[in-house]
């Protein structure tokens, strides 16, 4: 157990360090996210009242779209430099490769959320730092990256790569989208917990299902 944890930690550290040195993924994700917030402003010409209601939806679209950009990159280093085989040989238990990747992608999503939220709050003069909304986004981010990490590990090995990921990912993510937006709207409108609690449950259930399936099938993604 202790051994497994330290393996996991090393793998996550490897991803984070790599990202810290290149900053490829995060810069692109953040630039894209902030640009999309600008596009939404001009595409929708929202008046303040509507804007407040739509905030969780817009925020989630921005986060998932820029998150997809990041996911596309998440297995590129392993593919291009052929370190995947080395990883498979070095790491006991292939599931931990997936879990480590999932956690580092999840952390990347958290960084994205932590930066996008204040920018959005600032630009639209609406405070989004509400604990409930943060919790919803964190649950959503876990589900998003759980589905995304598994799919990205497959699309990285196909011919169409980046093109394919969103097409595979978005239909699978539909319940997450509905749940995040509905829970977010409930929280932002100040409704009682009981009215949106079920959506948080949907997120939790989705996260658990996706994590379990991924851990179960990841072996088949890497083993020939």
């Amino acid at each position: 157990m202790k051994n497994w944890l330290s393996t996991l930690k090393t793998l996550i550290w490897k991803d984070l360090l790599q990202e810290w040195r290149s900053k490829d993924m995060l810069t692109a994700m953040l630039a894209f996210a902030i640009l999309s917030i600008f596009i939404f402003n001009y595409a929708m010409e929202l008046d303040p009242r509507q804007r407040a209601e739509l905030a969780p939806g817009i925020l989630w679209v921005v986060i998932t779209f820029s998150g997809t950009l990041g996911l596309n990159r998440s297995f590129v280093a392993e593919q291009e430099q052929g370190s995947f085989d080395a990883l498979v040989m070095a790491v006991p238990g292939l599931g931990s490769i997936w879990l480590a990747k999932q956690i580092s992608n999840f952390l990347m999503m958290l960084v994205l959320i932590v930066i996008v939220l204040p920018v959005y709050s600032l630009l639209y003069n609406q405070n989004l730092f509400v604990p409930g909304l943060l919790l919803t986004l964190i649950l959503g981010a876990w589900s998003f990256s759980a589905a995304g990490t598994l799919l990205a590990s497959m699309t990285a090995q196909t011919r169409m790569r980046d093109l394919l990921l969103p097409v595979l990912l978005f239909p699978i993510l539909m319940p997450v989208n509905m749940a995040v937006v509905k829970a977010g709207m409930g929280i932002m409108s100040g409704a009682a917990l009981a009215s949106y609690q079920v959506w948080l449950t949907v997120l939790l259930v989705y996260g658990i299902i996706m994590t379990t399936i991924s851990l179960m099938v990841f072996d088949y993604v890497i083993l020939e």
Partner: protein, 238 residues
């Protein structure tokens, strides 16, 4: 003993007769619904097609799990063919539904959970074929396809549940449950049951023929690849 091909031909002819009989029942046996009139008759094919849509994806998901447990390209061929047929019938179900919805609900489309789920499901399986197209190695194609089928199939119930939840919180725009329900007479139930049976036999025929075609195609491709290798060898050696 009949040969395999003959058996399939018989089954195909049998399914054709069944479909014709189903048409006959729908047109002449089932009564005309009082409120909706003739357009309600599309319902018998609509339900049968929707059933095949789901059956197709269920069969594919089962094959996918079996494939991961014990790799066998025949299972993969059945899974892919099943998705293909399921997709076709899902499209038929959606379009017949629209034909019915236009006069009855006064709109081509509504964000009803069943409509939404079926359409999202169709998109999942279109993505499945795109994924397969991006991979050359047949074994890898089958493995990745199976994984995607399993995830896709696991999320369908959640999508349906969420869409339904969304709907109940949402205000109902097109008259409430009343329009969705029909008082069915026994003749209507019989017609529906027969139509579902006829379509299911058709599904079996399609599945067998398509899977065999797929396997033959695979075999042919392998043979061609082998021949090319041989020719290449001759050029090098000669």
């Amino acid at each position: 003993m009949l040969s395999w091909n003959k058996k399939i031909s018989f089954l195909a002819i049998f399914s054709g007769v069944l479909i014709l009989l189903a048409f006959g029942l729908v047109l002449f046996y089932a009564p005309v619904e009082q409120n909706m009139g003739l357009v309600q008759k599309v319902f018998y094919f609509h339900v049968a097609a929707a059933w095949l849509g789901m059956l197709g994806f269920l069969v594919a998901a089962v094959c996918a799990v079996l494939y991961l447990r014990k790799p066998n390209l025949t299972l993969d061929a059945v899974a892919a063919s099943s998705v293909e047929i399921g997709l076709l019938f899902t499209a038929i179900a959606n379009f017949t539904g629209m034909i019915w919805a236009r006069p009855v609900w006064n709109t081509w489309w509504t964000w009803d959970p069943r409509l939404t789920t079926m359409t999202i499901m169709a998109f999942t399986y279109i993505a499945y074929f795109l994924l397969r197209r991006g991979i050359d190695d047949p074994a890898k194609k089958a493995r990745f396809g199976s994984i995607y089928l399993i995830i896709g199939f696991a999320t369908v119930p959640l999508t349906f549940f969420s869409a339904r939840l969304l709907r109940t919180i949402h205000p109902t725009i097109f008259g409430s449950a009343g329009t969705g329900e029909m008082a069915m007479t026994p003749a209507m139930y019989q017609t529906m049951g027969f139509s579902i049976f006829a379509f299911s036999v058709l599904f079996a025929v399609f599945l067998i023929v398509r899977s065999r075609l797929r396997l033959n195609q695979q075999w042919l491709e392998e043979q061609e690849a082998l021949e090319q290798e041989e020719e290449f060898g001759e050029v090098i050696n000669g």
